[in-house]
Amino acid sequence: MTIPAQRDRVEELTIGKGARLEELVDRESLSQLAKSFAELSGVGMRVFDSEGKLLADASLPVELVTYLTSLKHAKNAVESTVSAVKNLDPGPAGQASIDGVSGARYRVMALEHDGRRVGRLVLGPYFPPSLVDIPSALIELEPALDLDRARGLLVMAPRVTDEAMDRLARHARAALDVVMFSGLKALLTGSMHLASVRESYRELQSKQDKLQVAYDRLKELDRLKSNFLATVSHELRTPLTSIIGYSEMLLEGIAGDVVGEQREFVTTIREKGEQLLTLIKGLLDLSKLESGTMSLRRGTLDVAPLVKDVTQTMAPHAKKKGIVLQADVEAGLPALWADGERLRQVLLNLIENAIKFTPTAGSVRITAKLASMAAASGADEGGLVLLGAQRTAVEFRIADSGIGIPESERGRVFDAFYQVDSSSTREQGGTGLGLSIVKRLVEGHDGAVRVEPNEPAGTVFVVAIPLKRSTLRP
């Protein structure tokens, strides 16, 4: 498992080497805090990180010190004190003081966070009240010193007892402690947030990978199934052709007279054989369509003769069931660019279906007319102008007055093997392959097929086959 960087960050902040002072405090706010401390106490405050970098500076000008820096020798002494303060290690006790040549005192304190030193706090300069006069060391050091002026400035300098400084220092440290704690909390929250998001993402990604593998495997299985169907259908057809052929020869009397019940039985064998052959052809068609190996033999196709042909073919079947079969073709329809045999198969299938599900004395009506259809799927949700223009199509409507299809089932009737009534006691036979073949054939022509309810009862199957753009009338 890869470890996201943010998780390392959380670990480093909590059980690792911890945060640096600079990460815990906002420098601008730290400067304001230092300034406010200096205003309150009259003593300057500076904050350094563990590497000695100055993070906040709120030093207050002390006139005595300013005066001393204007003098040659005293200036050097003041500067060396300041430099000593900068580098003073507060030692194991965590605090130390340093006195300058002028008697000015600085307090240096360790800043600790989570038991570790993260920086230093420097308070000063201030003068202990016990200092009543300019130290003799300074007088000896600086011959140019104006002693009266220096004494006057010492009176005005900030005076703080060591006890008071202890309290001030404790207060400053406590305030900084709160700031650092809040800083760490914010830092941890942020890092943890990022780490959590990354972890969730990683988890999703790994699930997604597993799903992808499963999906690829399913697709492969589906392909194998189609191949299997094609092979099996082909292998079944060969012996079946012999069964049908020999039964026909028997019926023709080639092997001697077939009489009475013998004729009846052989006829049944032949009929059932043909039924089986139709079913197997359907399976073969489906697998060819699924594997994309079925090619359409397109040519110019007139609609009126096609409709007339399928109506005539199905008329005896309808008559036998006492159903009225009507056809109505709009005059002047342009020719289609289509595979006549396949389109015939589509219409026959739909009409046969319609007759099958229509009770005696019902009606089945086939109409053909010009209509428009969306060229690209999804255009009905809007954006048609972008998704493609409407195309003109010939629309075949096969309407029956049968039992109808519930709305919830309409989307699924085109799935292979799907039966609205899949119970073993269902009234109507069939393999459930017809409509899925219809759909694939129609789509092979860039067309579309859908189901609508018929009024007052029954179903309408609508097949739209688009015209070639060049055959459109102006």
Binding site: T14, L184, S196
Partner: protein, 242 residues
């Protein structure tokens, strides 16, 4: 565990795991309350508006052994709510020992089981097995009605491998006992693996007694450890014994 040889500093990560609202944060609050000021840092809680743990709580404790080794204990809780699964896994990362805080109420039995399975699964994700992880189980909320009986817990505890403690974390009862039990197991496992005692001249017994004292306990380690019902405290987890 993080070991800093230069500064003689050892950092140990302990994680309080368990179902939502079983009292993990309450355990840390109770520890924080009894810990001596110099031993405990601020208790940090990263929580949502309604006081539920969002990422974790963190209580830093630090002790110094007589040999001069600084032992820093970082005690974490995980967020118990089911939705924070990925956060729990993150917090569990690098844990040296786990205290599982179970809710004693009979109605919560399933939630305890689910959370325990979640712990097991998350350890597995980190390439660890439950058997390798120093673990104590605490049955919290012993003061509530409709809880699983002492007898039942004692009977099951005696059959299991983990020390089981009874607690009322709200009142601080059983909290230190559970913690000392966890620290004892964790230390023993780390010592067995890294030979810390010899490397640092570290006396574990003296150290544990010191910790107990810093947590306001008059009782010694042995007495605190003996408060458990069932389980094995002698680190007798064969997998980690050298």
């Amino acid at each position: 565990m993080q070991l800093d040889f230069v500064n003689r500093e050892l950092t140990i990560k302990l994680v309080y795991y368990g179902p939502a609202l079983s009292g993990k944060t309450t355990n840390l609050q109770a520890l924080h309350k009894v810990a001596a000021p110099g031993s405990s840092g601020r208790l940090m809680t990263l929580e949502t508006k309604d006081d539920r743990t969002l990422f974790f709580d963190l209580l830093p404790l630090s002790f110094r052994s007589q040999s001069g080794l600084a032992v820093r204990l970082k005690v974490f809780t995980v967020p118990g709510q089911v939705i924070h699964a990925s956060t729990r896994r993150l917090v569990l990362q690098g844990a040296d020992g786990v205290a599982f805080i179970a809710d004693s109420r009979t109605t919560e039995t399933q939630a305890n089981t689910d959370s325990f399975m979640d712990l097991k699964e998350n350890l597995r994700e980190h390439g660890l097995s439950l058997r390798q992880m120093p673990l104590v189980i605490q049955f919290n909320k012993r003061d509530l009605p409709d809880i699983r009986s002492d007898e039942e817990i004692a009977k099951l505890g005696a059959q299991g491998r983990e020390p089981v403690y009874l607690a009322v974390a709200m009142r601080g009862l059983g909290v230190v006992e559970s913690f000392i039990g966890l620290l004892h197991l964790t230390w023993s496992a780390l010592d067995a693996e890294h030979d810390l005692g010899r490397k640092f001249g570290f006396d574990a017994r003296e150290f544990m007694n010191g910790v107990a004292k810093k947590l306001g306990e008059q009782r010694g380690t042995d007495e605190l450890l003996a408060a458990c019902v069932g389980g094995a405290l002698d680190v007798l987890r064969p997998e980690v014994t050298p």
